[in-house]
């Protein structure tokens, strides 16, 4: 009982309907993704409050939901099966072309046109020449005393188009699944001239794949010579820096880094992000314990140079809260720290304890503490990425495009030419086959036959051999099809 069931299941699992069903599923998921705010967007918390079922069904994180993953796995199975079936068909005996050609020539209602006995030896070379002008190449020839058959092909390699395309799709999906499972991505704000190590500093944010547990770098990093470049409209034009990478042996590797020009080192790719700003370092001296603590506050760059860099944070190990408005140059609007100062509002239990402007290297007293604006430097955001599966995806893209190019620009065609003897006369016939754009092939057959006919047909030759004039306005013997007869299923 299981055997017929599994046969039945396999038949429908790998049917055209299953393919269409998978398309529809993917479309639905994508529409859910664009219509329902996804995790990380503004909406989900509100949606969660009023429509908890959306969250329960994972519609607010549809692209990492169990439905999407199952669909991806289903597609992998479907594509693998398609590739297997198509491959079997493609490597079949090339004698297929001859079989198909003979069948098509036999199904012609009448031959194209008759030729005289004298002309029969000339027509084949002329037909080959005409076929070649249309890009056809002679594939095989078959002769007997009463018949000569020629089989031409065009864009023969194009028959691999569908297979290559589907292989590319499979690789893209596999690469994506790999990335989803194993990727490691971390983001950190790196202060210029300070050493960064994941063993001492956790990531500001990280994104790990399903089976990835931790993301530790085997090297240390230091950013130097950070250069933000602004355009005429005061918008950021470029961000670049020099990066020193110190490996486990203590050897330093210097690399330039800029937007769109990442660095690859020990399997990690480092990207320059658009995030940057100034890092303000405040040293807190405790008069009682005689200790000092340095805290860095990374402020995002302002959108315009007239505006200060704004931020606020608690001062660690104290009850103080700092509101900061940093001016790179107190004397004029500027992005360069020529005369840096910060407008500080310090509160304790929401009560203001200090409000004023503190210049760089200046300090202020806060009870038993002294707070000094002690360091100033750029910070920049760097993204570190590993194991995205990008290599598989790149190969997949290439194959997908190659496959589609073959499918739609170089569809395979076959041309069959027959010179056969019947009732002591010779008849020239033409037929063809293509998987795509058959009306264009019909037009080409028509043109090739007309050219051959114009070359050989003459009323004198027809009279001498008592040939009948072929029927139909084109002289091809086959009636022209009209629009109404063309569409099955309409």
């Amino acid at each position: 009982m299981l055997r017929p069931l599994s046969k039945y299941g396999t038949k429908y699992l790998f049917s055209a309907k299953a393919v269409i069903f998978s398309f529809i599923l993917l479309l639905i998921f994508c529409l859910i993704g664009v219509l329902i705010p996804q995790k990380g967007a503004v909406g989900p918390q509100e949606w969660k409050a009023s429509y908890t079922w959306l969250h329960t069904l994972q519609f607010t994180s549809i692209y990492s939901s169990v439905w999407f993953l199952l669909t991806a796995l289903f597609l992998v199975i479907l594509l693998t099966h398609t590739l297997y079936i198509q491959f079997k068909q493609l490597i079949r005996d090339p004698g297929e072309i001859e079989k198909r050609g003979r069948a098509r020539l036999q199904n012609q209602s009448e031959p194209s046109f008759p030729v005289s006995h004298d002309q029969k030896n000339q027509i084949i070379p002329e037909a080959i020449k005409i076929a070649r002008t249309y890009g056809y190449r002679l594939f095989r020839e078959s002769s007997s005393s009463t018949e000569r058959l020629l089989f031409f092909t065009r864009n023969r390699f194009g028959r691999w188009g569908s297979w290559i395309f589907h292989l590319g799709l499979l690789l893209i999906i596999l690469g994506s699944i790999w990335g989803f499972t194993f990727r490691k991505r971390g983001f950190q704000q790196i202060i210029q001239n300070e050493l960064f190590s994941t063993k001492e500093q956790p990531w500001l944010s990280k994104n790990l794949g399903l089976l990835a547990r931790q993301f530790i770098l085997d090297f240390q990093l230091k950013v130097t010579d950070f250069q933000p470049v602004y355009g005429e409209n005061d918008k950021i034009k470029d961000l670049s820096s020099q990066v020193s990478l110190i490996d486990q042996q203590g050897k330093t590797h210097e690399h330039p880094l800029a937007i769109g020009q990442p660095i690859s080192f020990q399997g990690i790719t480092i990207y320059q992000s658009f995030d940057y700003g100034y890092s303000l370092g405040f040293t807190l001296f405790d008069h009682n314990t005689k200790t000092q603590t340095l805290t860095n506050f990374c402020l995002d760059a302002a959108t315009r140079k007239e505006l200060p860099l704004v931020g606020q944070s608690d001062l660690p190990k104290t009850d103080y809260h700092l509101h900061m408005e940093f001016h790179p140059d107190l004397l004029k609007p500027s992005r360069t720290a020529d005369c840096p100062g910060v407008d500080l509002l310090i509160t304790k239990n929401e009560q203001p304890v200090f409000k004023g402007t503190v210049l760089y290297s200046q300090g202020l007293n806060l009870g038993r503490h002294r707070l000094v604006f002690s360091s100033l430097d750029y910070w920049t955001g760097l993204a570190f990425v590993k194991n995205q599966g990008i290599s598989l995806v790149k190969i997949g893209f290439f194959l997908t495009i190659l496959g589609l190019g073959l499918l739609y620009f170089l569809p395979p065609e076959e041309l069959y030419l027959s010179l056969s003897s019947r009732d002591s006369l010779w008849y020239f016939s033409l037929a063809g086959w293509t998987k795509r754009y058959s009306p264009f092939l019909e037009q080409r057959l028509h043109e090739i036959t007309e050219k051959a006919q114009n070359f050989f047909m003459s009323p004198k030759a027809a009279n001498e051999n008592k040939l009948e004039q072929p029927k139909g306005e084109t002289g091809l013997g086959k009636p022209k099809q009209t629009d109404e007869t063309t569409y099955p299923g309409e």
Partner: protein, 278 residues
């Protein structure tokens, strides 16, 4: 000062090309209505003239801006129209039977150009992420994809008109239903290839710039939706013999979706394409 004069001259040239496209459109419409070859010929010559003038305008813009014409509405819409008109004119050199599609191609082109020319003409800086060959490929093939789908749409619309009015002698000179259907299919195929290249190039560019090749950004997702619907169209043709009318309606839907992806989604949703392109 010279720059301002150059930009004013370039704007005038742009409007001249719009006028030429409009007149060419009128010729195509007259050629279609009165079934006169002269109308199509006149429309073609005017379209070529308009294209030459348009090319001059884009070259001037390129010289003034220092980068290709693809940033902001002004440049983006104009270069879209240029690519589509060029594509159509090159195709009808070989496929003369498609000349009648001229009115379907030129109308959206001059309309798009006019909208672009009324937008802000300030020259935008090219951000550093945009200096990549993948960006050039991505933008170029988006335009080619839209052009192909527009021609496919034209064939589909003509098919539907002719199918509905098969007995009317007016439609006899239009290519046969079979040809219209197959051309619609062929150009949809080309559009599908170009759309795939667009998505791939965009993903590779995103990976080069931000370290992620796909982030389910609204534009990315909508372009995938368009791609999936086109794939659905081809599979329905292949396995369920959706030809003729059903195929025509599906292509109209695919085109509408592609338009929405490129022009409408950036206006209503927050994506990277908004700030720099449209």
């Amino acid at each position: 000062m010279f720059g301002i004069k150059l930009l004013s001259f370039e704007l005038a040239i742009h409007w001249l090309s719009v006028i030429l496209y409009v007149v060419s459109f009128v010729f195509f419409v007259c050629g279609f209505i009165f079934q006169q070859e002269r109308g199509f010929r006149g429309g073609t010559y005017l379209a070529w003239t308009g294209l030459l003038v348009h090319s001059l305008a884009l070259i001037l813009r390129w010289l003034a801006a220092g980068h290709g014409p693809y940033l902001a509405k002004y440049e983006g819409y104009s270069s879209f129209a240029w690519v589509v008109v060029l594509m159509f004119l090159l195709i009808i050199i070989k496929k003369k039977e498609l000349t009648g599609l001229g009115m379907f191609i030129l109308a959206p082109c001059f309309f798009l150009m006019a909208i672009g020319l009324m937008a802000d003409q300030a020259i935008q800086q090219v951000p550093s992420t945009f200096r990549s060959i993948w960006l050039v490929i991505h933008i170029g093939f988006t335009k080619l994809a839209l052009g192909s789908l527009l021609i496919s749409l034209g064939c589909a619309v003509l098919y539907l008109f002719k199918k509905k009015n098969l007995t009317k002698p007016f439609y006899e000179k239009i290519p046969s239903l079979k040809l219209l259907d197959i051309y619609s299919y062929q150009f949809a195929g080309f559009g599908f290839v170009f759309w795939t290249i667009t998505i791939a190039a965009g993903a590779l560019w995103a990976n080069q710039s931000w370290g992620r090749y796909w982030g389910w950004d609204p534009i990315e997702t909508w372009s995938l939706i368009t791609w999936l619907l086109l794939g659905f169209y081809f599979h329905m043709r292949r396995f369920f013999y959706w030809r003729g009318r059903r195929a025509a309606y599906l292509i109209i839907l695919c085109f509408a979706l592609s338009l929405m992806t490129i022009f409408f989604i950036p206006l209503v949703l927050n994506t990277i394409h908004v700030e720099f392109f449209l």
